[in-house]
């Protein structure tokens, strides 16, 4: 554990916590532009979180301690996930403590706690949201693991920073298998983060909600944590995508603090482009019926399998 690795870790955590709402704001702004609406301020997510932290909390009479604990667990899990994704440098101190499969496990833990909390009050929408969230979850998880398998087959390790380092330090070669999995990963990202073809983050029509339906009973600080955690989740998925598919510009093991600081603007550029791309996908597609979600994610899974077969058969 060198001072540089601690610095990297601290920078990454601060960047994740601070930039996650900003990234969400940027996506919303792009979406508004593309849809010819006047855009909200890019700082709106921050203001929202600040507002929520200044309100009295309202908790349902029959809420159990699990309901009040869940926002902290979900938030903590997302921060833990952010700390093992190499968004700026691969020399993280905790790289060996959790690999990419454990990362999927962290996301699953957060999802399970969120769903359990949604079922705790016993409202119709809460259980509906929980059921749908778990459905999307079990469909998306195998596809996500397929993506991780391909990347770890190429670099013979499941440790995410090691994969990034391996891919970033190679000569520039394009792996067709990674191209297929990139498509799969994008689809998983949309589904897991309640984005448009699967869920609509801006919806107020209860019957089509997934993520929002689970948060209906939350208010004030609990809701603020949940919203922040959702922003962090989107940020985490984006940085996983960068780590696997555009790993260039990340400070690798041998490089000094200079590269680390240089990686900050590079990360910013990646986020700006990715946010715009996400807004573009969301604007260009329509929300699917809930029962089309399995087909959508089956396609994602098939892309993952295709990537795997390409890797195994052609070694590409």
């Amino acid at each position: 554990m060198t001072p540089l690795s601690i610095l990297t870790q601290a920078l990454e955590l601060i960047a994740a916590l601070a930039a996650a709402p900003l990234f969400l704001g940027w996506v919303n702004q792009c979406r508004a532009w593309l849809q010819n609406r006047s855009a909200p301020s890019i700082l709106l997510p921050y203001r929202n979180i600040r507002k929520l932290f200044h309100k009295d909390a309202v908790v349902a009479t029959n809420a159990s301690p699990l309901f009040r604990l869940a926002p902290y667990v979900v938030f903590g899990a997302m921060v833990a996930a952010a700390s093992i994704i190499p968004s700026m440098g691969t020399g993280l101190p905790f790289t060996r403590a959790a690999d990419a499969i454990a990362l999927v496990g962290i996301f699953a833990t957060a999802r399970v706690f969120l769903s359990l909390a949604a079922m705790d009050i016993g409202t119709a929408f809460g259980t509906l949201g929980a059921r749908r969230e778990m459905m999307v979850g079990f469909l998306a998880e195998p596809a996500l693991l397929m993506v991780i398998f391909v990347a770890s087959l190429i670099s013979a390790t499941t440790s995410l920073p090691a994969v990034t380092e391996n891919l970033a330090t190679r000569d520039l070669t394009i792996f067709p298998s990674l191209a297929f999995t990139a498509v799969a990963f994008t689809m998983v990202l949309l589904a897991e983060n309640a984005r448009i073809p699967i869920d609509n983050p801006a919806t107020h029509l209860e019957l089509t909600m997934i993520h929002e339906a689970m948060l209906l009973e939350y208010s004030a600080r609990h809701l603020a944590l949940m919203e922040w955690a959702a922003a962090l989740k989107l940020f985490n998925y984006a940085t996983i995508g960068f780590a696997l598919f555009v790993p260039w510009g990340v400070a690798t093991g041998m490089s000094g603090p200079g590269t680390l600081f240089a990686s900050i603007p590079i990360l910013g550029i990646k986020l700006i482009v990715a946010g715009f791309g996400l807004a573009l996908i969301e604007t260009a597609s329509a929300k699917l019926r809930v029962f089309r979600a399995p087909e959508f994610l089956a396609v994602a899974f098939l892309f993952g399998v295709l990537g795997l077969l390409v890797r195994l058969l052609l070694g590409a």
Partner: protein, 667 residues
């Protein structure tokens, strides 16, 4: 220490005898619940702990053999304690200790078998499972195996007044015996013409490849029937719900593992020289069982049936690991074979603890509410906080979430799958990652099932008025649950130590070595430079993050929290009926995996005065395989019955014809 218990093996034998005697002591005062529950069951639990300690110590001592001069003349019983037996005895002791403590507080006066008899059956069941693990010849093994089947049959039918329970018991007994026949045949093949049925002579027998494969497949069928491998799983969802909860816990947590032990013993010890293609059979059946079990678990409406199907899933994962191990071993990839076997043993231990925990929790709920139907439960976290939070531990572990134990074994299995890309057979090379995807799907579905299980029972609003009278479990019951939940934590947080022990076990019974990869006590790295996972660090970091978040919010947040009624969309008060039922929560699964189910639905018409909605979900294998098979047997029996004419002259004719035929054959 007396000479009698000078070695781990004799100590184990003494403890098993003590179990049997404890059972017999129950007959002294068969109707006295106080004596049986307060004295005998806690004593049985102490024996369990002692057995676990002895077995743990035996893992590092050399293997030993004994010949017991009991049983038939000239047929002494051989017993043997080696690393494989030791690891399963550890599982038996550790899981049964928690279950027995719980059982001490569980059995109530009332219907069915009297407590003393129940005590006898229960402890004989435990002792026979222990003896199965120690047996070193086919006779002793089969005697113990059948004692285990019979004692558990009587336990399953403890409430024999109910016809469904008798039917479930019969189905269990039938399939147990079909399995036993296959095991017997497998032993018959393995003696290899020497006609000695000790395991030693089977080890030294030189079987032709075809016969070895036949022995393996017979053993797989026989032990698979006991383990509940698809398509021989049909008894499991019937028998587990029928039995009292501690018995279900014992059957699901421990007895299924004795079947796994049997396959391991036959494959890696008695046969030894495995061929790679053998592994494909358990691999395919295991993956099928994993998905089949979990998909059916997701649509169940009865809590113990749900857990029974989940056991099928976990047995599927265990057999998947077995198939991988055999394949790797067959192609000479010893490190990966060892990794798969470590994952297998780890998952057996995990499943023994977490499934027992959940079955016992359903018992506590059943006692407190009298309900086993998920559709009539709900909101019990307020009434039964102890049971609820301990169940949450088991549910999260079973869902395979870090940092609990279920995650570790699945992680190890996925690693074995993932680094299997150097198998010489290209075809298998390509199929293996898809197997990993199936395991991932099963694990993700297990999380769905556990959210349903925990959420519907413990969260939300109580679905029935009567639930307001529910009370938490008693002291002994809590103690049993705490023991098992603590086991889940220990196995989850100390994977490095556990893998270190299991590695030695695997090396000694299969000869496959996993390289010593871990450089420090906190880091699990079975394959150097490829993957690592540190449960303690992970747990500490995540817990620290959650605590820091709570403290930070506490410090800066100056607002109050008020309790109000939940928001009801302006339509009038919420009722408990507005929540998802168990059927409702399973609906996406029914929709997505339609092909698995034989489903019948009755939908009400819009004009019904008293609308009814009914859906029944049945097993296609039951209708497609078992019912035709049953009617075939019936038809053959009918045809053969023609021989029974009921006239003495006809029977004399049969004897005469037989005699003539035999004479013709001999002369």
């Amino acid at each position: 220490m007396t000479p009698l218990v000078s070695s781990p093996l004799s100590a184990c034998l003494v403890l098993l005898t003590l179990w049997a005697l404890t059972g017999l002591a129950g007959l002294a005062r068969p109707m006295s619940l106080g004596f049986v529950a307060r004295m005998l069951f806690p004593f049985g639990a102490l024996c369990g702990i002692a057995l676990a300690v002895v077995a743990a110590m035996s893992l590092s001592s050399p293997e030993e053999q004994l010949t017991l001069r009991i049983g038939l003349p000239n047929l002494p019983m051989h017993v043997r304690l080696d690393a494989l037996s030791g690891s399963f005895l550890l599982l038996l002791g550790a899981a049964s200790a928690g279950i027995s403590i719980f059982a001490a507080g569980y059995f109530r006066r009332g219907q069915g078998t009297p407590p003393g008899l129940l005590c006898l059956q229960y402890h004989l069941f435990l002792a026979s499972m222990g003896f199965v693990l120690l047996a070193d010849d086919a006779y002793a093994f089969m005697v113990a195996w059948e004692t285990m089947a019979l004692s558990s049959y009587f336990l399953v039918t403890a409430q024999h007044g109910i016809p469904e329970i008798r039917r479930a018991g019969f189905l269990y007994l039938l399939i147990a015996h079909l399995g036993a026949i296959a095991i017997l045949l497998s032993f018959g093949v393995m003696q290899g013409g020497s006609w000695f049925f000790t395991f030693d002579s089977m080890r030294s027998a030189n079987l032709a490849p075809g016969w070895a494969a036949a022995a393996f497949l017979l053993a797989l069928a026989g032990f698979g029937a006991k383990a509940g491998l698809v398509p021989m799983h049909v008894w499991l969802p019937e028998a587990h719900p029928a039995a009292p909860s501690p018995v279900s816990a014992l059957m699901s947590g421990v007895m299924l593992k004795t079947a796994v032990y049997g396959v391991l013993r036959v494959t890696f010890d008695l046969l030894g020289n495995v061929e790679w293609w053998w592994g494909l059979v358990p691999l395919a059946l295991g993956l099928l069982s994993a998905v089949y079990g979990v998909v059916f678990a997701a649509v169940q409406t009865e809590m113990k049936r749900l857990l029974a199907f989940s056991s099928i899933e976990n047995i599927g994962i265990v057999f998947t690991a077995l198939g991988l191990a055999i394949t790797f071993r067959g192609v000479g990839m010893h490190a990966l074979a060892a990794l798969s076997l470590v994952a297998l043993l780890y998952h057996c231990l995990n499943h023994a603890l977490m499934k027992s925990l959940l079955f016992l929790a359903t018992g506590a709920v059943l006692h407190s509410t009298g309900e086993r139907n998920l559709g009539r439960l709900g909101g019990l976290i307020h009434r039964m906080p102890w049971v609820a939070w301990l169940t949450l531990v088991g549910a999260l572990a079973l869902a395979g979430l870090p940092p609990l134990n279920g995650f570790v074994s699945e992680w190890l299995l996925l690693q074995a799958f993932l680094f299997a890309h150097d198998v010489p057979q290209t075809f298998i090379n390509m199929l293996l990652p898809l197997g990993a995807a199936v395991v991932a799907l099963a694990a993700a579905l297990a999380a769905y099932v556990m959210v349903k299980f925990f959420g519907v029972i413990f969260l939300g609003k109580p679905r029935e008025e009567s639930l307001s009278g529910a009370h938490d479990a008693g002291f002994l019951e809590r103690a049993g649950l705490v023991w098992l939940a603590a086991g889940c934590f220990v196995l989850g947080l100390m994977p490095t130590q556990v893998v270190g022990v299991l590695r030695g076990v695997v090396e000694r019974f299969s000869g496959a070595t996993l390289p010593e990869a871990s450089t420090s006590w906190w880091l699990l790295a079975p394959l150097p430079d490829r993957a690592s996972y540190s449960a303690p660090l992970f747990f500490l970091a995540t817990t620290a993050l959650v605590v820091v978040t709570i403290l930070t919010v506490r410090h800066f947040y100056r607002r109050r929290a008020t309790r109000v009624a939940p928001w009801y969309c302006g339509f009038g008060p919420l009722t408990a009926r507005m929540q998802d039922t168990a059927e409702g929560f399973g609906q996406p699964i029914r929709h997505i995996f339609t092909g698995f189910f034989a489903m019948r639905r009755e939908l009400p018409s819009p004009f019904d005065r008293s609308p009814r909605y009914r859906v029944t979900v049945e097993d296609r294998i039951w209708r497609g395989l078992y019912l035709p098979l049953g009617s075939l047997v019936q038809r053959i029996a009918d045809a053969v019955a023609w021989l029974q004419q009921g006239r003495i002259a006809t029977y004399l004719l049969y004897s005469f014809v037989t005699l003539v035929a035999l004479l013709a054959l001999v002369l």
